[in-house]
Amino acid sequence: MALLKIRNITKIFGGLIALRDVSFDVNQSEILGLIGPNGAGKSTLFNIISGFHAADKGKILFKDDEITGLRIDQIARKGIGRIFQEPTLFMQETVFENVFSGFHRHYRQPGWKAFLHMPGANHEDAASRKKALEMLEFMDLSALKDELAANLPHGHQRALALAIALATGPELLLLDEPVTGMNPGETQVMAEKIRQIRSQGVTVLIVEHDMKAVMSLCDRIVVLSLGAKLVEGTPEKIKSDERVIEAYLGRQAV
């Protein structure tokens, strides 16, 4: 069952065609990798899915609901979470506060009740705090919970970003280069976490440059080159596909 359907997405920046008629599906509970040489349009596609950019043509369906053109927060509330390429955290907050804020979208009590600090709202706050601690536990960040996000080393910051995104309780998770810049040890750990997340029922779409990670982690892979979809298939198929090799090598030659 296709959770996310991307149909004929085209995006033009100035004179540059960033994405050209891209279409593919992301199936429920799969880990789909999105790869391609630099400039292929991967991050642009992410930005379009999560609402940071508007597509010029095409549409995107999430659980058969059209989400093209929705605001960032609306898309988030539909159940799509994402992490960014650059470390995007609440730098001046503690690790705990960061994750805690991730549970924001689950609040059911209306705002005015929160303002009046009524029991219902207080109860929700307490429940969220508990869940935040559990999330920290899951991501192995409990020891750092009172540390400022800005003070964390790179690998931990990435883990924190993932924790925050998970806190929103997404059905689809967009990971933008989750292991780039990590050493093999950290990469292994992150990959394991991603598998665990998938086994909890979350569908994952990953953009990555680290080929080893992509090949071992992903069920299927979609290759973009110069804004267009080149080929999609299983890792084995992709690894040996001539066009893919060409795209990467061709790029390097240039």
């Binding site: 930005n47 940071f52 950019h53 960032i72 730098m91 001046q92 800005a150």
Partner: protein
Amino acid sequence: MLVNALTIGSIYILMVLGLDIILRGTKILNFAHGQLYMLGAYVLFLFFQTLHWNFALSLVLSGAVLALVGALSYLGVFAILSRRFTVSTTLSYRLLLSAMASVGLMMILQQGTLLAFGTQERGIQSPFPQVIDILDIRISVMRILIIFLSVLVCLLLYLLMYKTPFGRVLRAVSYDPEAVTLQGVNTFWIFVTCFALGSALAGLAGGIIAPLFSVTPAMGQNVIFLSFLVLLVGGIGSYRGTIAGGLLIGLLLSFGFQFLGGVAELFVFMLVILILVFRPGGILGEATE
């Protein structure tokens, strides 16, 4: 009257282009910009009226001196401020602090000039007092000169920004300062240049308008409010918008005062609100990547 509108519009165009260059390059909203305009007028007064130097030279000086003042103000104030900012400093914090620093600068320049020169208005003998008749309309040559100069400056700026490598760097900095740094360009001096250039424009605007209106320390204050308005309406980061906005303001002001008197400003504001509702225009918003 149309000429009057164009004249006023031209001045605002120069002013706001300067403001825009500074803002886009350094992300600093320079509240002292009006004072730079005022100082430009005083420079012209000093050299042309008092020392009787050549008008053209004095005008160039009003731009050049202010370029220096602008560069110094960046070096002395904003550069120091920028040292504090790290990657994680929020945009609102940067904006607030740099804006407030510029406000402090504004106050110092304003009152300093007042103390140095006194509150009396200074008049400047117009170097071109002639008036010509076109189609039964009497137009002062001075005003035509202003419009002409403004057009010239716009063209020069356009050439600078879009046709030279320097201009490319300047534009790149307004999009992504970090990327530019990575390419080996020293953004520090780019910022200084932005300030110098923007300030020069303000000084020039002040210098060229000085013969038409009197020179007082309060000039800056009068002009900054509408300059901001033009910046807003024209869209921050759109040169074409700035030009359009300047012209619009020129039109509104000259016609507005004819018909509405004091309420003109209110009217303008209402118009601005309408524009804001329907066309947000170029905004330096934070919420989009």
